[in-house]
């Protein structure tokens, strides 16, 4: 039996066992056939996918908050007992893990109530913008996408300043434990720390190992390998299976995310050192030419997909690979939601075709790197009527212990702290199945060595979510002529927006 088939079979057997559809004897027999014996039983019992577990069951597991952290919350929270905090956040694995599972521990220990409003990303921006514009303090904590850091930098407390208040500081909070590239790429705007890194979706290469093995293709470690393999798969298996996929919906932020990965991967950048748009230079046009060729190996509907459609195309076996958000990987391993459970492999993004531009060669803090990051930070609003209580919550929500719980309960999402990657609870989940953490070493390496970050400037939310994806969408719809004409037009638009400030 092939390794991939063995993994898929094991995932299926384990899933049936934890759902009670298979008795222990049958499970052991099936596991025994795979040569796993008692080890498999342990996997089925101790590290099963969280979303097959009841809440009551979850509380009985070892996945409980650290007692010292709870004691600190009880002590520090006393003066604030009865306070209610509000947070508006995107529906991300960390936020959902806190909202549905973990906040009860915080509330019981501290006496502080936390209300979490979960919304799609663009609605979070609308809510926060209203709150800031009116200085109303409706929300005590802000969930800040990396592309909004500049916009909200004046409206939140710098956590380094908050940490100076020894009375409220969490013991061993260790702000230096946050991965430095994430602090620089997500949380820093000029000299201000706009909150602390809270979550980190990042582009990693995810591909169907079984198909690559079957066609004897080299792993997609370079841009050329990826293109060649995608062509070969599309030729051999299309139209049932295409080589790769994309998030290329016209006018949607996701299209801009894909563009930056190919742009940076060809040695280009969005801005030059003078702060002028340079996606229309030679490297930018090479990236567009490559993207055109790669698009020919993607499923026909890709023009209408955001990351949702892209992820589904891989999960349903329509596309054999994607350079995209690592948060999808645990979903691919879920046998109930995906047809490729156990068949996917995660590796770092393909190497760039040439040397990456340095930060000094770009502007506005842009960091070229194929591993496009879409992380967010969590910060206390300056308009909050209970900033101290909010700071206590923020420390707890971003502490190492809570992050470890989020990573396991939240379905394999990437932590933003170094220590959490080494946490035994996180490592124990590194097996095929829903909520796996087996891709996290790749996520960690990508953050350390291959991460790309968008620029930080107040106009960036408009440029990244509207100007660029609208122009690219028109290009792929054949409405803007050649790639050169499209990029030249885009340069005029972007430079004008930046000049306006």
């Amino acid at each position: 039996m092939k390794d991939s088939m063995r993994k898929a079979y094991l995932a299926s057997v384990t899933d049936r066992f934890v759902k009670g559809q298979m008795d222990r004897r049958s499970f052991l027999r099936a596991a025994g056939k795979l040569g796993l014996g008692a080890g498999a039983l342990g996997m089925g019992l101790g590290a099963r996918p969280f979303w097959t577990m009841s809440q009551a069951q979850a509380q009985d597991q070892e996945l409980k908050p650290n007692a010292d952290v709870m004691k600190w919350l009880a002590d520090v929270g006393k003066p604030f007992a009865g306070t209610t905090l509000k947070l508006a956040t995107e529906s991300t694995p960390p936020s959902n893990a806190i909202a549905t599972q973990l906040k009860q521990y915080f509330e019981e220990a501290s006496g502080i109530k936390i209300e979490i409003e979960v919304l799609p990303l663009e609605q979070v921006l609308q809510k926060l913008t209203l709150d800031v514009a009116s200085s109303l303090g409706t929300y005590d904590l802000y969930y800040i996408d990396q592309s909004w850091a500049a916009n909200f930098s004046q409206d939140v407390f710098d956590p380094r300043e908050q940490l100076k208040n020894a009375d409220l500081a969490m013991p061993n909070y260790n702000i230096d434990d946050f991965l430095k590239p994430l602090v620089d790429g997500i949380a820093m705007y000029k000299d201000t720390m706009v909150g602390v890194p809270y979550d980190i979706p990042i582009f990693i290469m995810q591909y169907r190992k079984d198909i690559w093995d079957e066609l004897k293709l080299p792993a997609p470690t370079t841009m050329e390998d990826l293109l060649n393999a995608s062509k070969a798969i599309t030729d051999a298996k299309g139209p049932n299976v295409y080589g790769t996929s994309g998030q290329m919906k016209s006018g949607h932020y996701s299209l801009e995310c894909d563009w930056t990965a190919w742009l940076w991967g060809h040695g280009g950048s969005i801005f030059d050192k003078d702060g002028k748009f340079c996606g229309n230079d030679e490297r930018g046009l090479e990236a567009m030419a490559y993207w055109d060729k790669l698009k020919a190996t993607m499923p026909p509907g890709v023009n209408g997909w955001t990351w949702d459609g892209e992820g589904q195309s891989v999960a349903q076996g329509v596309a054999a690979s994607m350079l995209s958000w690592g948060e999808f990987f645990p979903f691919f391993d879920d046998p109930k939601a995906s047809k490729v459970s156990g068949l996917m492999e995660a590796i770092v993004p393909p190497k760039p075709t040439t040397t990456l531009r340095t930060v000094q060669e770009t502007a506005f803090g842009e960091i070229p790197g194929v591993g496009h990051q879409g992380g967010s930070s969590l910060a206390v609003s300056k308009y909050s009527k209970a900033p101290d209580a909010a700071w206590i919550f923020m420390q707890w929500a971003t502490s190492a212990d809570t992050q470890a719980l989020i990573t396991v309960l939240g379905g394999g999402t990437g932590p933003t702290r170094k220590s959490v990657y080494d946490d035994p609870r996180v490592k124990a989940n590194a097996r095929v199945g829903a909520g796996t953490t087996r891709h996290l070493p790749v996520v960690r390496e990508t953050i350390a060595n291959y991460m790309g970050s968008e620029p930080d400037l107040p106009a960036w939310a408009e440029i990244s979510s509207d100007t660029i994806p609208v122009a690219l969408g028109k290009y792929f719809a054949g409405q803007l002529g050649s790639a050169k004409e499209t990029m030249d037009a885009l340069k005029s638009q972007v430079d004008e927006i930046v000049a306006k400030g």
Partner: protein, 290 residues
């Protein structure tokens, strides 16, 4: 005879096709609520042969339906939507009630009483529907914040009632216009006051119209998104707003969204059943002029 049978069969067939066209999206969406992720995205779409599951309902409503306890899905949006369904029922019912009470009185006055600027008044009422809600949403946010109405049932009921009033007034006016004014005049001759005529004579005759207007107001409130999003935070949320929370950073939880959607059809369906007796008459009122 044969031509008549053929014609009737054709009509019946056409009617079933039309019914099928309207019913299919409801069937499809409801079936998604009972599917696992793999079945939702199967190619070609699997309309009938799939393994049904209550998982989506369990996740969305936090209840156990006998297939393995209460489950949760990381990244699958917000949970425990039952309170949100209740929020929607309260807001839609009360706002409909407020709109109908005010609209009935206003429409009767516009239909029966002569006062200066009556026709302009009708136009003015209609003009408030011409303004896009998004232009009003942000100013309303600040007004509501000032009056302490943000995130409250009172605030949501008021805004939905206000939103529905113009349409309700115009609809009710057309229904009252259909009731002959001679009936009012006869009652006046018999010594009835204006209010008595309204309450005892005209209102019972306009029951069908009131039912039709109430159904429209209820449905508009039930499906309204923008105000419900802007004017609430965590205190209450209506179904359309919480449905959007299933759009997550790792894709859309279609099964969960469909489960909430399928469940949310039921209250609206019950409301329509309750007023169904009067509805057909109401929908046909105003179609014939004297």
């Amino acid at each position: 005879m044969n031509a008549s049978v053929a014609s009737r069969t054709l009509r019946t067939l056409a009617a079933w096709v039309v019914v099928g066209l309207f019913f299919f999206p409801i069937y499809y969406w409801t079936s998604v609520a009972f599917k696992y992720g793999n079945d939702i995205f199967s190619r070609p779409p699997n309309l009938f042969h799939f393994t049904p599951t209550f998982d989506n309902f369990q996740k969305v409503f936090g209840i156990s339906l006998g297939s393995g306890g209460v489950t949760v899905t990381p990244g699958g949006g917000n949970f425990f939507m039952a309170p949100r369904l209740w929020d929607s029922i309260v807001v839609a019912t009360l706002s409909t009630l407020v709109a109908i009470v005010i609209a009935t009185l206003a429409a009767y006055a516009l239909s029966r009483m002569n006062f200066r600027g009556r026709h302009q008044f009708v136009n003015w009422v209609l003009s408030t529907r011409m303004m896009p809600p998004v232009a009003v949403a942000v100013p309303m946010f600040f007004i509501y914040k000032g009056f302490g109405l943000l995130d409250t049932f009172t605030g949501m009921v008021l805004i939905h009632a206000l939103m529905n009033l113009p349409l309700a007034v115009l609809l009710m006016k057309s229904f009252f216009d259909d009731i002959p004014a001679e009936i009012d005049e006869s009652a006046i001759v018999d010594g009835a006051s204006r209010f008595t005529i309204f309450r005892r004579i005209v209102l019972p005759m306009a029951k069908g119209g009131i039912a039709a207007t109430a159904v429209l107001c209820f449905i508009f409130s039930w499906t309204e998104f923008l105000f419900a999003l802007t004017l609430t935070t965590t205190g209450l949320k209506t179904v359309p707003v919480v449905s959007s929370t299933f759009v997550t950073s790792i894709g859309t939880a279609w099964g969960n969204m469909a489960a909430l959607g399928a469940a949310s059809i039921i209250p609206a369906f019950i409301f329509i059943l309750l007023v169904q007796k009067h509805l057909v008459r109401g929908l046909t009122m105003g179609s014939l002029k004297q």
